[in-house]
């Protein structure tokens, strides 16, 4: 029921959004503002709420372009330092023996496009982080160059396996007629909280001619948020409360099931 409601809401959002865009384009509303405004897009939701039943979310990104050109959408999560560790065999068992910390790694990444990305020049892809291989993830300054490559690849591989870097790359992006486009952005159950950004590019002749970005917040809400917040902000009180709950539960159990 809830899911159906969400689908209906999404469809309504899509419809009104597209209607607005479709009406605006012929009236030159976007073209009139500046030469840059050749693409416009929005998300069906700007807040993903992680609740007790959260198993992931799908958000619709929709928009319109003016004229021709391909559309590329990049969604990035909050940037964090990430530690990559490599195991080696020591005395018969596999233990972590080397590590490297990358700074500014997006905790989530996905890219959708209306055409293969290979046609884009590497410089453009690097500038706009189009494709996970082009992400700016900063390796330690003192790391040996030969080591950085494997660690970097391993980071991407592991993020993909954890569903945090979305596969396939690019995800499909479909046109509806000449101007309207849409794509689904998937967020897994383990999507980290924070501020996300969806960047939408209009690409013509191997270069980005127009761009727009729109924010998206992933937050824990309700009971989850409260527990997490409490555990981190008032750690001692949380610990004491956890103990009290356990003591009361243990006492209750023994009182209820007391045989005599």
């Amino acid at each position: 029921m809830r899911r159906r409601l969400a689908t209906v809401a999404t469809a309504v959002a899509l419809f009104t959004g597209m209607l607005a865009v479709a009406l605006a384009v012929p009236f030159g509303l976007f073209a009139g503002r500046s030469a840059e405004a050749e693409i416009i897009a929005d998300l069906s939701e700007h807040l993903i709420a992680i609740t007790t039943g959260f198993t992931g979310a799908r958000v619709l990104l929709f928009g319109a372009r003016e004229g021709d050109g391909e559309v590329v959408v990049v969604v990035r999560g909050p940037r964090k330092p990430m530690v990559v560790r490599r195991k080696g065999r020591v005395a018969g068992i596999w233990i972590n023996e080397a590590e490297m910390t990358f700074r500014d790694v997006p905790a989530y990444y996905s890219v959708a496009a209306s055409a293969p990305l290979d046609d884009l020049p590497a410089s453009v892809r690097a500038r706009h982080e189009i494709g996970s291989g082009y992400l700016r993830m900063v390796a330690p300054a003192d790391a040996p160059a030969a080591e950085v490559g494997p660690f970097r690849e391993a980071l991407i591989r592991n993020m993909r396996r954890a569903d945090l870097f979305y596969v396939p790359e690019p995800a499909p992006l479909a046109f509806l007629g000449d101007t309207l486009f849409r794509t689904d952005v998937f967020f897994p159950a383990n999507a980290p909280v924070g501020l996300y950004e969806a960047a939408i590019f209009l690409v013509r002749d191997g270069d980005v001619v127009s761009a727009q970005s729109t924010p998206l917040q992933v937050s824990k809400v309700g009971f989850e948020a409260w527990v997490f917040d409490f555990a981190h902000r008032h750690a001692l009180a949380y610990g004491v409360l956890a103990i009290l709950i356990a003591v009361v539960a243990g006492w209750l159990a023994s009182a209820i099931f007391r045989k005599d």
Partner: protein, 305 residues
Amino acid sequence: MDIYLPIAEVSVNVFLILGLGGGVGFLSGLFGVGGGFLMTPLLIFIGIPAPVAVATEANQIVASSVSGVLAHWRRGNVDFRMGGVLLVGGFIGSSVGVWVFTLLKQIGQIDLVIRLSFVVFLGIVGGLMLAESVKAMRGRRAGHPPKPKPTRSWKDALPFKMRFRRSRLYISALLPLAVGFFVGLMAAIMGVGGGFIMVPAMIYLLGMPTSVVIGTSLFQIIFVTANVTALQAVTNQTVDVVLALLLLLGGVIGAQFGARAGARLRGDQLRGLLALMVLAVCIKLAFDLIVEPDDLYAVAGIGSP
């Protein structure tokens, strides 16, 4: 029905957790064991991050020990003076343990140490239990080994002697302090109550009468695991109350059924079965350490989907 655990930051099936709690609770009711030594590895197997599994299991043991100790207390089977001395050792041990835990977590070796500790611990416990039940099943019941005569040994040479009236003992306080310290260390690093180690140590090393052993060990486990819970919550934020509550709920109910079943069933085969289960968990953990991982590289702190 999936539920998102706020601290573990993973989505798990509620019935799986309730079932785990119930199953391990059943076994602990059946055999009168704590169950932490099975629960922590099982939580790791289903994808709960190892540090969260350890800290949360310590929290759950607080509850199961409270409900266990009350019955012993009513019968007067708790030596509070001995429990107090064990507790001092336990507090120091568990505090040192959490400090070591935090250090290992920072250098990325905590998973390895937790797993290795369990391999060693479960291997010894499962092996001993299996040997005992095989012996019992063959019918070579030799009765209880004769109590060692109170001859003078290195134990009597130790200073700081104390009188423990309830246990009818006059021994150096250093012995229970050391036992408490070691078990506290285990509670912090492995999320187990440590009854499995403490009970034999109390009987054979300290020479306590068996009647007060279980009550006294439960009494001190409450406080040591409570200390672990508080310290883990403060230093590592790894105590997941939602997970602990689910395990509790399953555990409490399972333990009651287990206790009733235990009153009816013959113990030897079941004990052998438990030993095999313990060994199976041990082998699975050892196997994961020995077999070359699919990916030699791993990224710290990303949850599984």
